[in-house]
């Protein structure tokens, strides 16, 4: 279970102080797929980075299981991160390493032996259906393949939680769909807790069970995804839904359904 209690964070910028997170409270149950949506600058990225300690909140506590992320020293934090996978919009693969070596990275730094690494990497590459690409370099891969490597790398250490930072925002719709399928599949098979931040409504609708809506650094709405979509209260969520529907209603021409 992930518990975020009264978390606030302020950044000092050249133009003054910016309060990016204001008194955030949320809970993510084990095995849930949890969504965080908001427009650009709402604080989504900062919030998800607080969950694995890449950002340190000014106030408040964050618990992942029994582990109080906000109280750990550097070394303890590094060890906790080994059990929190993260995937990124820009994939952030290492160009100097093959697919195999990218996935092996988290295992290398956890001190696994070579044959154990080989066994685990091959197993996980099979899960993301990239076994035949293991000797390729990231620059040879398509966006979807890169994100599969990202997912494999994030899962190599058998984490309890997977954080997804706009992981499908740089992908085309078809690839987005296959990546979300993969995430859902992994969630089911490994009972892995997944936290997804996104600005794409369809991503939330497709795979999350619960969600929060972030606006200007605070949570304006939270609950079951289906309920929120049926009865949106916050301006932000209404706006998101209206924009998406507006695109559908005001199409220049109709057709294309059911393809």
């Amino acid at each position: 279970m992930i518990t975020v209690k009264n978390v606030s964070k302020t950044f000092n910028t050249p133009t003054g102080k910016v309060e990016v997170l204001k008194n955030i409270n949320l809970t993510v149950e084990n095995g849930d797929i949890f969504g965080i949506i908001g427009f650009s600058g709402a604080g989504k990225s900062t919030l998800i980075r607080c969950l694995n300690g890449l950002e340190k909140p000014d106030f408040g506590n964050i618990l992942i299981g029994e582990n109080e992320i906000t109280k750990l020293n550097r070394k303890e934090l590094r060890n906790s991160r080994k059990k929190i996978g993260m995937i990124f919009q820009q994939f952030n693969l290492f160009d100097s390493r093959t697919v195999y070596e990218n996935v092996a990275f988290p295992l290398e730094i956890s001190g696994y032996k070579k044959d154990k690494i080989k066994e685990r990497v091959e197993e996980i590459l099979e899960l993301v259906e990239l076994s035949e690409k293991k000797d390729s370099y990231p620059l040879q891969l398509s966006g979807g393949q890169k994100q599969r490597v990202g997912i494999a790398r994030a899962l190599a250490n058998e984490p309890d939680v997977l954080l997804s930072d706009e992981a499908t925002s740089a992908l085309d719709p078809q690839t987005t769909f296959s990546i979300l399928e993969l995430l859902k599949n992994i969630n089911k098979r490994l009972n892995l807790t997944i936290v997804i931040i996104t600005h794409e409504l369809d991503v939330l609708r497709y795979c999350t069970n619960n969600m929060v809506v972030l606006e200007d650094g605070h949570i304006v709405e939270q609950g079951n995804t289906e309920n929120l979509f049926l009865n949106p209260n916050s301006d932000t969520l209404k706006k998101f839904i209206n924009i998406t529907e507006g695109f559908q209603k005001n199409r220049k021409f109709s057709g294309g359904e059911g393809i």
Binding site: F94, P106, Q140
Partner: protein, 222 residues
């Protein structure tokens, strides 16, 4: 071509290559860690140490702002302390390597700063230590750029050795001054220039070749 010319140029080239190779190795051993330190200790780096960063930065700028010939003279007492003399190739090596290390440090710093922050953040999110990030992410990711930078530094060191020749270091620089300039031996002067051009060209070609080879392996085409 007279045989004394060949002999002079041959010895000069040997001395120059000796100085360049040893100085480059020492400058590399000093410059790379300092360059890494500059990057990781910077604000927003993986191991911020702002005071250390500032002091190292100032020392580098002071050394780099001095003309090479003056730097050699200033470092002569240190050379005497380490190799026991202020004359000859070994004394020059001390001055040249310490004088070139700051350039190399800045070049390494530049290369490492080109590595996308996202990659470093990804390594941090996996629980990598700063040392692991340096060894497994920063240096390998920046390798082609580092190779090109080292090429520039070595060529700078060749120029440095020629200047050191003016104050008794030997090598092609000293040959050009003692024979070409002071004794009006134009053939020696032209000979040294041709050899220096050939050496610099070869090093540039080798450096480019290695950098391209690494990029090609990674499917990064230029």
């Amino acid at each position: 071509m007279s045989s004394d010319l060949v002999k002079l140029l041959l010895t000069g080239t040997q001395e120059t290559l000796y100085m360049v190779i040893i100085s480059s190795i020492i400058a590399f051993l000093l410059g790379v860690p300092i360059g890494v330190l500059l990057v990781v200790s910077d604000k927003g780096g993986i191991f911020p140490l702002l005071k250390v960063n500032k002091i190292v930065g100032i020392v580098i700028n002071v050394i780099r702002s001095m003309p090479e010939i003056i730097l050699i003279i200033i470092l002569l007492p240190l050379a005497k302390l380490i190799v026991g003399t202020t004359l000859g190739a070994n004394a020059a090596i001390i001055s040249i390597s310490i004088g070139s290390a700051p350039l190399l440090a800045r070049i390494i710093e530049n290369s490492l700063k080109e590595v996308e922050f996202g990659k470093i953040e990804a390594a941090e999110s996996m629980g990598a230590t700063p040392f692991e990030i340096i060894k497994k992410v920063l240096l390998p990711e920046a390798l082609p750029s580092i190779v090109r930078g080292i090429t520039i530094a070595i060529i700078g060191i060749i120029g440095f050795t020629a200047i050191a020749g003016a104050i008794g270091a030997g090598g092609l620089g000293s040959l050009a001054i003692r024979f070409g300039y002071q004794r009006f031996r134009t053939d020696v002067l032209i000979g040294t220039v041709i050899i220096l051009v050939v050496i610099v060209q070869s090093i540039q070609l080798i450096g480019d070749f290695i950098a391209k080879l690494i990029n090609k392996k990674r499917f990064k085409f230029e």
